[in-house]
Symmetry: C2
Subunit: 508 residues, 2 copies
């Protein structure tokens, strides 16, 4: 894989004047600012998600951005060195602190710390930013938002089934049509069973198990042949990069591939295939039984129409999963960088992590949860045209014709605001032209003008910027005059609010 | 001042079992979790603030939590050592990164970086968490929320006046009554003029100026006599702690005190007093003129009824202010720790910071802004009884009478949710008692019961937990029987939704 693009060298950034010696104004690598449209679209989407979670009986709880490093644990995928991937710093008492890298580890700490106070099972949700100390790349940020829901204290897979169905409801609630997504369910125990069946269940095999896991996870990208190579000696990709394989023998590779290909024509067939693959492994069989139980619950609630499906190809990278794992995938196609159609892919995922709370308490505390990649889901809604089309109406701008009369203009603005109309007085320098340009740039629908003549008559001029912009293209003189009369007209001050309302109504 | 309480030693924290060797579940010092009531109350308050800012023509923009350390600058009050007060860590390219300590410095970076793309003047707002690497204490957190509004690119003090009036509108919009607050305005230039008048305007006097500033800021706490001591040789507080003074001579002290006492019976008197205090300092006189201009704008919009007032006692600790400074104070009284009545005090503040964007660009970029301490304002609303009284209704809990029938109970839950009723199936272990206890703990109004008898009849039992709890106190047998009939009754499954709605309506 080629390295992600580095940012330009400092000298190429910013536009300070020649003589300037101050710091450069630049975002840190991998971080981003957010503008009003993005913030508003995100807020609307989060509100919709919250509604569904509330309906399911989950309640909001939030943890801080900073945790003791040891409380977070080392559960990031693809991170072999300690604390790799995490932003950490030392407190003044020498204890290590870290920015949270997900919302699950902090929830585990919260539940363990407040165990006796919480109702159990404990259903909760939270939305927040998380941080990864990784090389940034295109679309790959070091700060991003997740929206999680978790049920702690329920060992029954009914809890997993519920979260999968809630995931489906959530996707539909935010605007993904039924048929454009699937919540795919698998079980780590089944995977463990496969590992057992191929003799990779020893303590010393942890490294090779991880390689196998990652190989399976690449099925979509490299196909069965590629996975076979990764399970065996290794694989050379088209760019010439070689990835070392797990070194499995042919019979072992076959068994793992049989697992990835276990998806049948219906649930019963898939479950039967899986039972064959894990035959002889009690843990694997337990996993298949759990999947069967989930399938039954999903069918009872009629979510077995493609909304929630059993799919052996789901792996999930995080090491802390212990049972059912699930992934919400958008199945509609988009064009990739080279213009080829590809599925939009995963926007959320989760699974059962029975060890995460337990490690604080030294007693079993089952838990399962689900995390939405907020930016990723929002990107999908943009592709579908569900967000981004909204127009925010700019403020009505009261122009400053005479700087001495700022107090008068302030009063006009106040009158508009008191009537609930978004309005402001122009606060910059310059005469008419920059003021009109400003109003335009803010997306304002009209401006208020009161020069000395208008003031003498107790009037204001209202200039409709939208109609004004179309004047030049009037088909004939009559149309022009009509538009001109609508584009700018005078009213007594007392009628300003009503007139502005009329102009605002014109343009929806 | 006594040291803030340290947290308990590790051994006293958490309740892991004896044999447990895992990490301890504990929040880092100075950080807090937030529960559902707090989150909901905060969200409501933030939405109200957002409404006012929108009305004033401001638009949302957000920056990330992490900035290059040099971009943030060192503007924290009471921090003499470099990077003191800030959480910092090094990136893999050796550049220093910091968690933002306020929302102003990042905004300055954002505006400087996107200068040509933004409309100017640029009105924007943002709400977010900020971080201070300070010793935590009671009510003093290392992560807290601010809600800022700023106008960049407007040199006119009309921008400052607007923000002060917006602050007043905001306080009223969230529930603070007129008369219970004041937005107090002062001007750094007037302070500079005082410094000039007492001969403390040299480059070498920066340290002493800071001591003078802090002395003035303590007027409320230590009185004029205390301030005089802090301006002179120093002051011994009742606990015996000695604070070294600024070492001013008697005449200088008198002049500074005259400044703090410049507040007159009306605006005109205050301004006249201030003119006397800064006489001979052009910068001081400019400051007084700016205050006069703000007062005129405030009067024109009729906010001079105590909502926005000129008050020479306002100082503001941050070093980056260059002109008008303002502080929103709640003037109603609350009891302090010792039961004595004190004013609630400051909940927001801000001022003009003309140098903060400029330092990136090497050209003047005027700016002014205002920051609400979100937790502090929320605490005030709690004191006033404006938040905290809301009751969130817990979910309807469908009890699990027979584990084999989970799919049936799941279906009942689905029916309730489809009708928009917050509902869930009990997911824990245990029979009737723990299930009822759980429903109670969640604040549920009723539970649904379907044992084999009910199932055979196609019915469900609905148990009203609120009436159920009052049964024991029924005055007579007749009342008891009536209440009992309402507290638990059977309906056909098809009528479950209607019956649950009736029970929910009973209890508002």
């Amino acid at each position: 894989m080629s390295k992600p693009a580095e940012t330009a060298p400092e000298s190429a950034l910013g536009t300070p004047s020649e003589a300037h010696r101050g710091p450069l104004a630049r975002l840190p690598r991998g971080f981003a600012d957010r503008g009003p449209a993005d913030i508003a679209a995100t807020e609307r989407m989060l509100a919709a998600i919250r509604e569904v979670y509330d309906l399911y009986g989950f309640e909001a709880v939030e943890t801080p951005f900073v945790e003791y490093t040891d409380a977070l644990g080392k559960f990031l995928p693809d991170q072999d060195r300690p604390n790799e991937g995490v932003f950490s710093f030392q407190d003044d008492d020498d204890q290590w602190l870290s920015l949270r890298y997900d919302l699950t580890a902090p929830l585990a700490r919260h539940v363990a710390e407040n165990f006796d106070k919480l109702p159990k099972p404990y259903r909760s949700y939270r939305c927040g930013w998380v941080f990864r100390n990784e090389k940034p790349g295109p679309g790959r940020f070091r700060q991003f938002m997740q929206f999680d829901a978790d049920t702690v204290g329920a060992s029954s897979v009914a809890a997993d089934a519920e979260i999968c169905m809630m995931a489906a409801d959530t996707l539909e609630r935010v605007g993904i049509a039924r048929g454009d997504y699937a919540v795919k369910v698998n079980n780590r125990k089944v995977l463990d069973g496969v590992m057992e069946a191929v003799g990779l269940d020893g303590e010393d095999d942890a490294g090779r198990r991880l390689i196998v896991l990652r190989a399976i996870d690449k099925l979509d990208k490299v196909g069965a042949e590629g996975v076979a190579a990764l399970l065996g000696a290794g694989r050379m990709d088209p760019s010439g990069d070689f990835t070392k394989g797990a070194g499995l023998a042919a019979a072992q590779i076959e068994r793992v591939l049989a697992f990835t290909a276990a998806g049948g024509s219906d649930v019963a067939a898939t479950l039967a295939n899986l039972r064959t693959v894990v035959a002889g492994s009690p843990r694997g069989e337990e996993g298949v039984s759990e999947l069967a139980e989930i399938a039954a619950l999903v069918a009872a609630a009629a979510y077995d129409d493609g909304r929630v499906v059993i799919d052996p190809s789901v792996v999930r990278g995080l090491e802390y999963y212990t049972g059912p794992v699930y992934e919400a995938e958008l199945t509609f196609e988009v064009k990739d960088e080279d213009g080829r159609p590809v599925r939009f892919g995963s926007v959320a995922g989760g699974g059962r992590y029975d060890g995460l709370v337990s490690r604080f308490r030294g007693e079993p505390v089952p838990a399962t949860g689900f995390s939405i990649g907020v930016s990723r889901l929002l990107a999908a809604l943009k592709v579908l045209g569900k967000v981004g089309a909204e127009k925010t109406v700019g403020p009505v701008v009261v122009l400053v014709m005479d700087r001495e009369r700022a107090a008068d203009y302030q009063r006009l603005v106040k009158t508009l605001r008191d009537a609930g109309i978004r309005a402001e007085m122009y606060l910059g320098d310059g005469k008419m032209k920059p003021q009109m340009k400003y109003a335009d740039r803010r997306g304002g629908v009209c401006v208020i003008i009161q020069g000395s003549d208008e003031q003498a008559r107790g009037e204001v001029q209202i200039k409709d910027l939208v109609i004004g912009a179309t004047l030049a293209s009037a088909p004939d003189r009559e149309a022009y005059l009509k538009a001109q009369a609508e584009a700018q007209f005078a009213v007594p001050e007392a009628e300003m609010v009503a007139a502005v309302r009329k102009v605002l109504a014109r343009h929806g």
